[in-house]
Subunit: 221 residues, 4 copies
DNA sequence: TACTAATCGAGACGGTACGTCGGGTCTTAAT
DNA sequence: ATTAAGACCCGACGTACCGTCTCGATTAGTA
C-alpha cells in the first residue's frame, strides 16, 4: 500500500546496507538448512520467517537483514543446495546432455531422467513453492528463471547446436525455441497438474518435435 | 452439538452442510463482483476474504459458509464470468478455432489472439493468481485445469482432428499431445516470465511443430 | 454503538406486539427447561440463546419474540421454577419464618437453612448469573430484586413485626431495615466471595444485630 | 481450557511467559487510560479488548500478552488509579476513619461520604462492571475483594478496635463482623438496586447496629 | 592486545487478517 | 399467525505472522 524505500532519498537514510564482511557464516548455513528442512516438512506455503528463525536458532532480524522475503531465503537456500550438488560432481564434462550421435535417443534419455526428478518429493516441495511465488512476483519469477530454469535449458541449446553441426537439425532452427517444444509441455503438465507424465509421454514429445505433426507430403497452403 | 446427517462417524461432526436452496443469490453475485473487482484493483495476492466481504456488503460467515478459501471464491467468480461471457455468444459455432483449410494459418491466428489476451491486464490478474495457487494446491490446480484450461485445449483437439481427416496431419498423431507443442511453450513463457512472447514467436512455434526440427533427410540413428 | 430502535417513532413501525393467545405453551416449557438445564451444565455465562433454542428444539425467533435477552429468559425460567416449587407446598402456612416465641432462635434457624441453600450448586449457578447481570442492567436488577429477593425478605419483615407486637423488638425499629443487619452481610459474603460463611457466622450476626455492638453503659455522647 | 500453572508437563507447551523486564511502560499506561476512559464512556459491558487496543494505539497481542481478559485489564487499571490517588495524599494519617471519640458520629460521617461516592458515575461504571464479573468468576471475585474491598473494610476494623480500647464497644465483639452490620446493607442496596440509599438510611443503620434492635429489657426466652 | 562498532539471539511491539462464535433480524415452508 | 429452521449482516473474539524496534552479549576488524 505505502511506498517505502525507493533507494536513496536521504531524509530517511537508505537503511545503511549491512557490512557483509562481518556476516556470520554459521547463521547463514543454519538458515539455509532450516528453510529447506521446513519446506520439506510442512510445505512451502506453511513456512514462515518466524519458523525459520526459530528452527535456525537465529533472531528474526538476522534474516530480515540479509534477505527481503521468505521467497528470497528459500530461493537462495535452494540455489545454494544446487551449487553444492554441482560441485560434488567430478570435474570433467559435469553437466551436459549426452551426445551419442543419436539426438532422439539422447533427448529421450534426459527427459526420462527429468521425469524421475520431477516425481521426487524432495525436489518438488521447494520447486513448486518458488514457482508459484514466481508467477505472481515478476521480479522473483525472473530470478527463478535465470537461476534455476535457464541454466538447464542451455544444456539443451548446446546439444541442439551440436546436432545442427552434425546436420541432424535444420540450420535455420532457433535452438532456444526448439527445445521448448518438448520441455514446456512436460513442465506444464507437471507444474499445473495438466496431465499425466510418463516416459512414453516424453518419448512421444521428442518424436513429434523432431519430425513434426504434419503429413509428409501434406499440402499446407 | 446434535448430530444431524451423515449417519455414523460422529465425534467431530461434519459441520452440517448448509441448505443451498435458501442461499442468497444476491449475496453470491455481490461476492463474485467484489472478488473480481478487487483482484483487478489490488492484485490477487492482496485480496483478502475480509476485503471481499466488506466490498460485497456481506458478512464473512456468508463467504465461509459457501467457500473454503479465497482461491475457491476467486475461481468460481472467474469461471462464472467466463460462462456468462460464453452465453453472450450468438448460438451457432460458438467457440471454435476457425477452419479455413489452412491449418498453419488457423493456428497462428488463434495463437496471436491468445498473445493479445495474455497481455490484457484484466485477464492477467486473476489468471496468474489462481494459477499460482494451483501449483501448490493440487486439488485447486486440477479444478483450474478442468474448468479453465482444458476447455480451451479441447478446441485445438477438434481443429487437429479436422486436419487429420483432411489428411494434413498424420493419422497416428495424438492431437491432445500435439497441441502442447505450441501451446505449452507460450504458456510457460508467459506464466513463468521465461521469455518474451510475440506474434513472431508463436508463428515460429507453429512452423516448428508442424514440420519438426529435424533435417528432412537427416539420419537419425 | 449505534442506537437502533427506541420504541415507537412510526416510520419503522413499533414491531407489532405478538398475539399471546396463539402462543405455544409447549415451546415455552421446553425453553424454560432448556435454559435451566444449560445454566446448570455449563454455567450462566456460557449459555447462549442459540444454545437454548437448539436444546429446546425451537427456532431462535420464537425466543426473541417473547423475551428480550438471555437474562430475561433465564430469569423467567427461574421464577417459574420457584413458583412451581411454591405450589407444591401443602396449603397452610406455606412459606414463613417459624415463630416459636424466641426471635433469636428463629432467625438463627432460618439463616442456617439459608447457608445450606447458598452452598447448593443447583441454586448457585442461575442465582449468581442473574445477580451478576442485574448489577449492570438496572432494569433487570430491579426485576430480580422484586421477583426473587424481596419476597424472601418480606418473610423477615413479618417475623420482626410479630416480635415487635410481642415487645421483643423496639417499636421504633423499621423491620425492613432491621433485617438487613443480618441478611445483607451473609448475602455479600456469599455473592462477592467476601468471606467465609458458616452457622457460627450467621449466629453471630443475629446476636450482634439484636443487642448491638456498643457497650451497655457506653457513653455515646 | 488453558493450562495455567503446573510448570512442566509440556506436550501443549505452557505458552512461554513473556519477559516482563522488556515490557513497554508506555503501552501499559496507554492501556490503563484507554480502559478507564472507555468504561466511563460506553459502560463496562460494551468495552471490548479490541476497543481498548485501538484507543490505546496498541496491538491486541500486547494486551493478550500481559492480561488474560477484559476484567483483568480493567481491574488492574482501576487498582492502579486507586494507588495513584492514594500516593497523592499527603503522607500523614493518609486513609483512615476519623476518630473524634464519638463512634456513632464518625461512622455516620464516613458512610455519608460513601453514599456520595457510590452515586458518582465515575466510580460507578467500573466498580459495578468488575463486581458483576466477580460474582461469576470466583478467581476474579476474590481478587476484587482483596484489592478493592477489603482495604476499605480494614479501616473500619481499626476504628472499631479503637472504640473497643475506649470502652465504647464490647470487648467480645469481632470488629471484622461488626462492620458488616452497617456496610453490607449499604453495599447490597447499591449494588443490587435493592433499595434506596440516603444519609438517613445510613444513619439509621449505624444506630441499629450500635444499640441493637431488641427491646432493652426484652425477655429473649 | 585492547577497543569499539556492527552483528547476533531474543522477543516485545503496532498491525492485518485469519477463521469462529454468537447476537439479533429476516425469510421460507409447514402447521 | 405462529412455528422450526437457519441464512443473513455484523461485531468481537483470540491467534498467527508480518516487518520494525529495542535490548544486552558476542564478535570481528582496526587502532
Amino acid at each position: 500500500m505505502v511506498q517505502k524505500s525507493t533507494p536513496a532519498r536521504s531524509d530517511t537514510p537508505p537503511k545503511a546496507a549491512p557490512d557483509s564482511t562481518r556476516r556470520s557464516e554459521k547463521s547463514r548455513r543454519a538458515i539455509y538448512e532450516a528453510a529447506l528442512a521446513l519446506v520439506g516438512e510442512v510445505g512451502y506455503q506453511k513456512v514462515t520467517i518466524e519458523g525459520i528463525a526459530a528452527r535456525a536458532g537465529v533472531g528474526k532480524q538476522t534474516i530480515y537483514r540479509w534477505w527481503s522475503s521468505k521467497a528470497d531465503v528459500v530461493m537462495e537456500a535452494f540455489v545454494d543446495r544446487s551449487e553444492q550438488a554441482a560441485e560434488a560432481v567430478p570435474p570433467g564434462q559435469e553437466y551436459a546432455i549426452p551426445d551419442t550421435g543419436d539426438l532422439a535417443a539422447d533427448l529421450k534419455f534426459v527427459l526420462r531422467a527429468t521425469v524421475d526428478e520431477l516425481l521426487d518429493p524432495a525436489f518438488e516441495a521447494p520447486y513448486r513453492g518458488l514457482a508459484a511465488e514466481g508467477l505472481v512476483n515478476e521480479e522473483l519469477g525472473r530470478r527463478y528463471v535465470a537461476k534455476l530454469l535457464e541454466p538447464s535449458l542451455q544444456l539443451y541449446v548446446q546439444r541442439l547446436r551440436a546436432a545442427q553441426d552434425a546436420g541432424q537439425v535444420r540450420a535455420d532452427i532457433d535452438p532456444r525455441i526448439a527445445l521448448e517444444l518438448f520441455v514446456s509441455p512436460l513442465a506444464q503438465r507437471w507444474l499445473q497438474y495438466a496431465g499425466p507424465i510418463s516416459y512414453e509421454y516424453t518419448d512421444t514429445l521428442v518424436d513429434y518435435a523432431l519430425h513434426g505433426i504434419a503429413s509428409p507430403g501434406g499440402n499446407q497452403r
